[in-house]
């Protein structure tokens, strides 16, 4: 599959890291890419189901471009949210809808996560796409 440039770069960066521990450390660094959703705005309406830990995502549309703000209590989830932010923020609705979370598998981060966490990432992705669809 041909990915948008930003995602392709991410895939290449992660593929190079063989050690799982290191891969997770790098993933956690991506938490800095997140537009933070303050914890007092975490509620049932923006909760990501399927995650064992707390994870919340809010999608907004500004000048026809998608933007997500996210919050999570686990650092690895924050890192996943950072990756998702890079994939989604600034894209058009059509571009977001065309995306699949499979790039995370290519990066080797879905493999290094438990099924429930992987499902959480997929759920998070679906949540964003569904919100975008509703806004269109």
């Amino acid at each position: 599959m041909i990915w948008p440039e930003a995602i392709q770069e991410l895939i290449e960066e992660f593929i190079e890291i063989e050690d799982k521990f290191e891969k997770l450390e790098v993933l956690m660094d991506f938490s800095s890419e997140v537009i933070e959703l303050p914890s007092d705005e975490w509620d049932e309406s923006n909760r990501v189901h399927g995650c064992q830990s707390q994870a919340h995502v809010v999608v907004t549309l500004e000048d026809e471009k998608v933007s997500i703000s996210c919050g999570a209590d686990a650092k690895i989830v924050q890192g996943l949210m950072g990756i998702m932010s890079i994939a989604v923020n600034g894209s058009t609705c059509e571009e977001v809808i065309a995306l699949t979370p499979d790039f995370a598998e290519e990066m080797g981060i879905l493999n290094s996560l438990t099924p429930s966490r992987s499902n959480g990432f997929r759920t998070m992705f679906d949540m964003v796409k569904n919100s975008v669809k509703e806004m269109m």
């Binding site: 050690d19 521990f21 830990s53 650092k75 690895i76 996560l113």
Partner: protein, 396 residues
């Protein structure tokens, strides 16, 4: 070495030697158990009890051997084979609860229960109006026995976890049984975490129901048992209907088996029964008392090491408790912890461990839990501490 009997322990995870410390969730299987199940499917597979051909005879013998060994090992009159602890408890709720309890009757539980010893009773309570009373725990995680003495007044059933899957605490079930029996209540023990660590004499213990699973004692998944006293067995009504549990069936009505088969409708877990029988034989050759002390020694060392690294420990680790170390770090999320440990080949459990009311009582949302079993040794503990130290350094 005992470890060598477990093929899975020689595999690598994420490029590292597997250190398996999630034994309270499930244990690994020795080669002899795997071989017994493979042999059964390769040589003896047939349905049990009815047919007269040779394979059916071998299958029946293999499956019933499991029941025989259970009765012998635990000195029990009745051993109903189920899918595991959860089904065993649900069986009591359905087969005993529904025919012996009605609106206003009281069931006593504790704050320490696994969800499988809460939810079936909540369902029964919602349907029949049975009252549920919960006994709290003290700050040292022991059961509040004064509260128990109050709660059992007028109770029909007391259902309690024998050894906590979260804290490793082995409850004073001898006193609990005595107190419960003094008011005429039936007693059910969730012994899923106790059976792997201690040899229990069911009759001497004097409870009515004891539920446990094979897979926590090196046996297969999908099979467990409910030991039942003769008195309680006589009070149980049929639950699931179908083949194997009947004597005769006409279009008008059916008559049922008088023995344990009455509660084992349908084709049972034959290969699993064969595998569990082998696991029971295998574990019979192990000095559990000695092993228990050895594992406790390792777990105590781990708890001390983790404390030195800034962790809060939620475990008893008294002489009778299981070798389970539950812990949290003040700032590192348990899931991050477990994920990073896994990246180094170390398997632990995180989360609420299916005991959310206990988590609420402890004021936490989850813990990281390292649980030790027969094949674990000091090197596993050292690996855990070493990687934990690395994680704390990197994440601080």
């Amino acid at each position: 070495m005992l470890k060598d009997q477990f093929p899975i322990l020689s595999r690598q995870v994420n490029g590292k030697k597997l250190v398996y410390l999630d034994n309270a969730a499930t244990t690994q299987k020795p080669q002899c158990v795997i071989d017994a199940m493979t042999h059964y499917y390769g040589q003896s597979n047939a349905n049990v009890h009815r047919a007269v051909h040779t394979l059916a005879g071998e299958a029946t013998e293999g499956y019933e051997e499991c029941r025989k060994l259970l009765k012998e090992r635990y000195n029990a009159e009745r051993a109903i084979i189920t899918s595991g602890t959860t089904e065993s408890i649900n069986l009591v709720a359905h087969a005993w609860g529904r025919s012996n309890l009605s609106k206003g009757d009281v069931i006593v539980l504790t704050e320490m229960e696994h969800h499988s010893d809460i939810v079936p009773w909540q369902m029964l309570s919602q349907e029949f109006g049975v009252e549920l009373r919960f006994v709290g725990i003290n700050d040292d995680y022991s059961l509040d026995m004064e509260m128990l003495e109050e709660a059992v007044k007028g109770a029909s059933l007391v259902a309690c976890v024998h050894t906590s899957n979260v804290l490793g605490i082995r409850n004073d079930i001898e006193s609990l049984i005595k107190i419960s029996k003094s008011v005429g209540a039936r007693v059910l023990l969730d012994s899923a975490q106790a059976v792997p660590h201690e040899l229990i004499d069911f009759k001497e213990l004097g409870c009515d129901f004891m539920a446990f699973s094979a897979h926590k004692m090196c046996g297969p998944t999908g099979i467990g048992a409910l030991l039942v006293s003769e008195e309680a067995f006589a009070e149980m009504s049929t639950f699931m209907g179908g083949g194997d549990m009947i004597e005769t069936v006409t279009l008008d009505h059916s008559t049922y088996q008088k023995n344990e088969h009455r509660f084992e409708a349908g084709t049972p877990r034959i290969a699993e029964g064969v595998g569990w029988a082998k696991a029971l034989e295998w574990i019979d050759g192990i000095d559990l008392e000695n092993e228990h002390s050895r594992l406790l020694g390792i777990a105590r060392g781990v708890a001390k090491g983790l404390q030195d690294l800034g962790m809060t420990i939620y475990s008893g680790l008294g002489d009778l408790d299981a070798a389970v170390v539950s812990f949290t770090h003040p700032s590192i999320h348990p899931e991050d912890f477990a994920r990073l440990l896994d990246a180094k080949g170390i398997a632990v459990r995180t989360g609420h461990h299916c005991a959310q009311p206990l988590m609420a009582r402890l004021g936490i949302s989850g813990t990281i839990r390292a649980s030790f079993y027969l094949y674990n040794d000091q090197s596993d503990a050292d690996d855990l501490l070493e990687v934990t130290k690395l994680i704390v350094e990197r994440m601080s």
